[in-house]
């Protein structure tokens, strides 16, 4: 088995008196999709925000390539190769695909920050990189607001990879999409996985989606890991039970049936 790209060790995150994460450990491997699952409020988003440098952990350690690291801010994390695709995708709907692709990292000639944008080159790269993960865009100058939800996801993913992400964090990438676009995003995820050098952390509430792409699972509940394992060892029943926070799904189903 490959070396873990990232190892989280006993991560604790408290907001005041509230313990959002109570000692979470997990490993992420290149070329794998790691599904991070759990009920609402389990701490999934908090965990990836710690990983992305948005929050500093109260205690615990992050190792990248076996080396302990501290991310003081999102920039430090992205410099270390951690690319986060947030729920809102961090896009500016009113400007072009290219301007979004290169937001904050524009290709320019001349001194920062007044360097002249190399628009033709940036357009070419945008088109190529989008095509590499399966979306052909006709006009890189079109406004992002006019793209479909799936295309926007792809744009955010392509951008993260192009700028050196070795770990791609996807927080509920399919939640706001229609059926066809959900599958499109899953296809993109598989496409990225097949490169073999990139690790993907996928947060989703959809067990079917998780089963379609995940190699490895971690289940969170109330800030604790309540289960983890590789895809071959977990049945659909286990996944469903652990996703719901370990509560007996059967009980819940009975309760549901009792309500009319």
């Amino acid at each position: 088995m490959s070396e873990p790209l990232i190892r989280l060790e006993n991560i604790v995150k408290r907001f005041g008196n509230f313990t959002a994460l109570g000692g979470v450990s997990m490993e992420v491997h290149p070329g794998e999709v790691h599904a991070l699952l759990g009920d609402n409020g389990a701490g999934k988003s908090t965990l990836i925000k710690v990983l992305a440098g948005v929050h500093q952990p109260t205690s615990g350690a992050i190792h990248v390539d076996g080396q302990p690291v501290v991310f003081r801010n999102p920039l430090a994390a992205s410099d270390a190769g951690i690319g986060t695709v947030y729920q809102d995708l961090a896009l500016n709907p009113l400007t072009s695909v290219t301007r979004n692709f290169f937001m904050g990292r524009e290709i320019t000639k001349g001194t920062r920050p007044f360097g002249i944008l190399q628009t033709a080159e940036m357009n070419r790269i945008t088109r190529e990189e989008m095509a590499r993960i399966g979306i052909n865009i006709a006009d890189p100058e079109q406004a992002v607001g006019t793209m479909s939800g799936g295309q926007k996801q792809t744009l955010a993913i392509a951008r993260a990879i192009f700028f050196g992400a070795r770990v791609l964090i996807l927080d509920e990438p399919t939640s706001a999409l229609g059926q066809k676009q959900q599958l499109e995003v899953l296809k993109t995820i598989k496409q990225v996985r097949s490169r073999g050098d990139i690790a993907i952390i996928l947060i989703t509430h959809n067990e079917v989606h998780a089963q379609l792409v995940a190699d490895r699972y971690t289940f969170l509940s109330l800030g604790q890991v309540i289960g983890s394992g590789v895809a071959e060892d977990l049945g659909g029943e286990d996944i469903r039970r652990l996703m719901a926070g370990g509560a007996q799904m059967a009980d819940l189903e009975e309760e549901l049936a009792a309500i009319h």
Binding site: P74, L75, P93, L94, G104, L117, A138, G145, T146, S148
Partner: protein, 383 residues
């Protein structure tokens, strides 16, 4: 039914279509029509034609052009600053008071000498010292906005009052009355003062004179040149256009206004962008004041009143969206032309009461805001 089969066949065919095929390659004409400036541009053309019909020669004779452009340029200078800041998602309501403050600062120094008894002030010294003060105030406003996360509407509104008050107090303290008049005509003797208060593009009126279109009653040349503020407007708007559309900071400005969180997550220094733009509006207000002081050799405490709202209105007429992230300098150039023309020219139309001009302006503003909203919806998919 036959039509059902046809529909069925059609949907199978659609399966082979890629997303890219759905966007037709747009021709140059359709690209032109979809540019964000097109609304302001058509509005301007319509207005120019209507004015030619209704007021005619008074607007388009050599003096009319000069006077109109002077008003337009003044407005254009501060509208450029307001537009950049609005694209970054913030407002500056202190522009008008900043104009009054800067004018006071320059005039008082010119009349009573440099601070701390450092001797008489040259136009250059008065301008530079004033600029340092106004840039510092712009920096302060911007810093308060980004540090406290208070709405820039409130912060700059506070400075609208603070600066107007400070202007009056300084006038009374250093000058005794709230106005300075009868300064020497520096633009005749001082190169730097002439840069602001003198004339520019004289060749235009020389050519008109040669063509026989620019005579006064005595048969000599009538108008000799445009006000220097026209050149300042073109330079400031040109630089702003270049920065906004062609450079890295330009993209940062759009990103900051379009989705600030996103911009920050992607490493755009959004706070620096905003603070710099508050300083830029202060800069524009100072240039405005300098062109006024060195042109008329006067200053008073009421100068610049309501100019901040006119600057914002001209930006909106030029296609800038109030919530930020969208707009163009070229549009705002057209917006300033529209706004300045209406302001100045309605008075020339004999059969309309000139006082209607504000009613016109309000209507134009409302129409522009509605059409901007349509554009925004087209880009954001209707939210």
């Amino acid at each position: 039914m036959a039509s059902t089969t046809e529909n069925g066949a059609g949907s199978v065919g659609a399966g082979h279509q890629s997303e890219a095929d759905r966007l037709k390659e747009a021709g140059w004409f359709s690209r032109l029509v979809h540019r964000p400036e097109i609304g302001a541009f058509s509005g301007m053309v319509v207005l120019l034609v209507l004015l030619a019909l209704a007021a005619g020669d008074v607007v388009y004779n050599p003096l009319g052009i000069k006077n109109n452009l002077a008003i337009i340029a003044q407005l254009g200078i501060i509208a450029t600053g307001a537009c950049m800041l609005m694209i970054a998602g913030e407002f500056d309501l202190s522009i008008g008071s900043m104009i009054g403050f800067a004018g006071m600062s320059m005039a008082v120094m010119l009349k009573w000498g440099l601070p701390f008894g450092l001797g008489p002030a040259s136009p250059l010294a008065a301008f530079l010292i004033t600029l340092c003060i106004t840039l510092a105030i712009g920096w302060l406003i911007g810093t308060i906005v980004v540090r406290t996360r208070l709405s820039s509407f409130i912060v700059s509104l506070s400075f609208l009052f603070i600066l107007r008050g400070a202007t009056e107090v300084c006038f009374r303290t250093f000058n005794g009355s709230t106005q300075v008049s009868g300064l020497p005509d520096y633009k005749q003797t001082d190169f730097f003062a002439a840069l602001f208060g003198g004339e520019t593009f004289q060749w235009f009126y020389d050519v008109l004179f040669w063509l026989g279109l620019n005579f006064n009653r005595a048969g000599g040349q009538w108008v000799t040149g445009f006000d220097a503020k026209v050149a300042w407007w073109l330079v400031i708007a040109g630089a702003a256009w270049f920065v906004l559309s062609r450079t890295q900071v330009g993209n940062w400005i759009y990103a900051t206004g379009g989705n600030e969180e996103a911009a920050r997550a992607n490493g755009v220094p959004t706070d620096k962008v905003k603070v710099s733009l508050f300083m830029f509006t202060a800069f524009c207000a100072t240039i405005f004041a300098a062109t006024q002081v060195f042109d008329t050799n006067t200053a008073d405490a009421a100068k610049g009143n309501l100019k901040e709202l006119e600057a914002i209105a001209a930006s909106v007429v030029g296609g800038v969206i109030l919530s930020g992230g969208f707009g163009s300098i070229i549009g705002v150039v057209f917006g300033a032309v529209i706004f300045g023309l209406v302001q100045n020219s309605v008075f020339y139309i004999s059969w309309i009461d000139g006082s209607y001009y504000r009613t016109f302006l309000g209507t134009v503003l409302l129409v522009a805001a509605l059409s901007n909203e349509t554009i925004r919806k087209r880009f954001t998919g209707g939210i």
